[in-house]
Structures are given as C-alpha cells and as structure tokens.
Subunit: 285 residues, 2 copies
Amino acid sequence: MGKDQWPHRVAIVGLGLIGGSLALAIRRAHPGIELVGVDCDEDALAKALKCGAIAWGTQRLEEGVARAQLVVLATPVSAILELLPRLYPLIAEGTIVTDTGSTKRRIFELAERVLPQSFIGGHPMAGSERRGFEAARADLFEGTVYVLTPGSGRPDGLARRLANFLETLGVRTLFMTPERHDRIVAFTSHLPQLLSIMLGSQLSRKAEGDPTYLELIAGGTSDWLRIASSPYEIWRDVFVTNADEVEPLIRELAQGLEALCGSRLAERLEVEFRRARQLRTRLGR
Amino acid sequence: MGKDQWPHRVAIVGLGLIGGSLALAIRRAHPGIELVGVDCDEDALAKALKCGAIAWGTQRLEEGVARAQLVVLATPVSAILELLPRLYPLIAEGTIVTDTGSTKRRIFELAERVLPQSFIGGHPMAGSERRGFEAARADLFEGTVYVLTPGSGRPDGLARRLANFLETLGVRTLFMTPERHDRIVAFTSHLPQLLSIMLGSQLSRKAEGDPTYLELIAGGTSDWLRIASSPYEIWRDVFVTNADEVEPLIRELAQGLEALCGSRLAERLEVEFRRARQLRTRLGR
C-alpha cells in the first residue's frame, strides 16, 4: 500500500454486528491498514483481536482515535450522540469521522455543531436480527447500498474520499440529505420492523392462551417474524430519533387497514395485490 | 405394497404448487401407488406426466376420480366449492375425499351436505409465493404440520386412515375443527399476508414517485416483501371465505397502531418488543 493511500489507520468504535463486520471487511480488502478497535466491552475486544479483525484494541476512546485518519462510530444512535461531542479534541486535523447509525438527522444536527468539517454520516443498508461481534461477517455489506449523508446531499471532497474507500469494500454508495434518508427508511425499514414487532407481540399473547397458534405458522409468516426478535435497545434509539417520520406512516397504514373492513374485503384487496406485484417487477426479482 | 394397503390409487385434482408437490411426495414414498392427475390445463398434465409425477392424466373429472380410493382437491378454494357437489355420483363407496384449501369452514359446510361420510378437510401448512407445477417439490411438506378438520375436531376411522397415510409423507398431522382452523390461520397466515400486501402496495406507490425507496430496502424488509408477490387469484378466495375472522384482527391491529402514536412512541414499543422476543423463545429458535 503506497504512502499516498488513505487511510493508514482506522478506528472503529463499537465492535458489534456492524462495527465488527466493517473491521472484517476492511481487513480482508486492505491487510495493510492498521485497524484499531474501541469498545467498553473487554470481551468484544478480545474476540475481535483473537480472530485478527483488529490490530489492537482499547477501552479508552482517546487512545483509540488518536492518529486515526478515519473514525467509524458503530454504536447504537444514543451512544453516537454521546460520543460525538467528545471527539473534537481527540482527533488529528483532516481526520474523517463517520457513523453507521440507522437515523441521520439528529446525528447530523449535533455533528454540525461539534465536529464541523470532519463528519459525514453513513448508514450501511445491511444488518441482521442478530447482534454482537459473534454475528459479524466480512461479507455482510458486499453488494449492498451504503448511504452517505452530507448536509447538502451532495458529495464534497471529504464525502467523496470516504465513498471511494467504502466502495473498495464492495458496497455501492448513495448520497442524500439526512432528512431524505430518515424519511425513506421510516418507510422501508422502521415501519416494517414495527409491524413485525406488533404481530410478534400479539402472536406471543395468543400463543399463551393457545399454543396451537405456534403450530400453524406458514413459511412466509415465519420469515416475517424473524426480525421480530431484534433487540429493543437498538430500535429504541431509532424510534426516539425518527418518531416524527414514522408516526404519520403508522397512522396512514392504520387508516388504510380500517378502510379495508366493512364489506367486500377481498375485492378491496384486489388493487393492493396488483400494486404489490408491480413492486416485484420493479425490483427485478 | 400389500393388497391390504391403502390407497392403491390416488387422484389429485389440480396440479399446481400444492397438488404437484403432493404427487411428487407420494410417488417418492410409495412408488406402487397409481397416481392420477386431473387438471383442466393440458400443459400442467404434460409437465407432471413428463417428470413421472403422475401415472396418467385427464382433463375429465369423472374419468380421473373413478376407482380412486383417495381423491385430493388441490385447487383454489372457489374451485373446491364447485367441484365438491359433482363428486358424489363419481366416486366409489369408501373413497375418501380431502382438499388442501387454505380455509376450512365453508368447504366443510358444503361437504357435510353433498359428501357426507366421505370428506375430511385438510390444510398442509406449507407453501410458497410461487405457483404452478413448475414450483412443485417432493419435499415441500417434509417436517411441516398438516391440519385435518373433521367436523368434531377429533379423528374418526376415516380421518385416522387419511392421517396415517399423510404421515408416511413426512408430515405431522394435527386435528381440529374447521372453525378453530380458520380462526387461527386468520392470525398466523391471512393477516401477515394482508400486511405484506399493504406494505408492498404502498411501497410500490412511493417508488413510483421516487425510485430511491427501492434502494433502501434492508434485508428483513425484503424477506417480508417476498410474500407480497403472491397471486391475488389464490388469496381472493381466502379473504372471501374468511373475512369474518380476518376483519376483527385488522381492526384490532389498526387500533393498536393508532394507540402507539401521540407521544413516546419508542417507550410504548418497549413492551411489544419484549413480548415479541418471548415468541422466539417459545418457538425455540
């Protein structure tokens, strides 16, 4: 790796599913980069070190991010919001700070104030209902979309540099404003998650009274329920920081559901089925 | 296969995903059984014949079911309701007629009148968003639950005989009344299907205005949307014949969704997340 290549050292803060997978992907694509892991959980550091995902690890933020050219905050959103104000005195000039949080507006608003010129928000559109470094995989992001959210929605030099690096990991980067990101994922990710949780919760209650409910779950429904076991701790932050985008969608759906009832349910559904099928064609699958 | 073994000849009416898979499963487990395919679609008959799933095929119901000890109606529910009244003069004494329809009450009520003593409703809890003989697989039902719905909910001699045979195909049979079946699947199958359709339909509409919506679909959501491409023709019958069980569930869900909104969405969701996670434990996955 030439001296002019960027970055030489990357610090990843939070070695869970996302941070761990990013470390593994970077190590695989760029064995020459010095990868530093920062995590308050000693166990996660030990695991990442043992399998060579990081060169070294520390529980001390200041130690981990010093002299890193790229700092990735891969913790839940609330922890990102706590970490951001601490970074400014700790990082070298020219360091890029990014994050992998599932919502982008609140993080962007804070970073604008505490890390001007250094921060580009990001969101890899990959994940799993599992969590922790145990679930990390070098190929988790391969072929997926990685959203970057500069305030303008358009890449400047900083964002372009980060995007070029991320694309060497096999992702396709996409630029948009933090607002636009949050609006879209409210529909494509947060609402489906919420519905899975609501169904999972109701099914759990019904199964308490009658376990036969669990025997009659067809294949499609069980795919659906898979994400219902996602941890609340991660999702709480998502719903706290994006409630104003998610709530109108919940109301709209609730009204759409009410409107189906009354009479001729099957006929009312016909147009919805037709439109849903167009989606498959659109997605090309 | 001994002379005392039952059945020697099986007629399967409807060689789509379910009927085709049943034919392949029977042929694999019991090469000695004479399998007859009945389908109005010549193409489906030709395909099933070509791969040896059936011994012979016919478009004429009376020809296909004559001298069969077991007749399986594997068409959409509306076609089952049309076929049932025609069968009585066509079948031999002692023949068992069963079906694979997704709802059981309406079929049972009709069969009680037109095929007393011969009919046991059934519903294999397996499927796919795909359709047609092309999608059929010998192992589709392996390890899955196969519900049988005698009117009393308890097996008599007829139901026991059918269950014993089905279990040789690798399924686990479960007996319940048609009413109980329809109540449970309204929740475990029809409501999730309807939600997938509603989400898929809304996403399709949003993507029309802004294709970026399609780029930001995370893994969990795309599993979810898979069943949104299921054919309306099959599901129409389900919603026609089970609207009175499904509608109260739709209303209940709509009210639950409305109740989440207002303030503290994330906090309100906590109890739902916890309950949904218990489900995973209950399911033992």
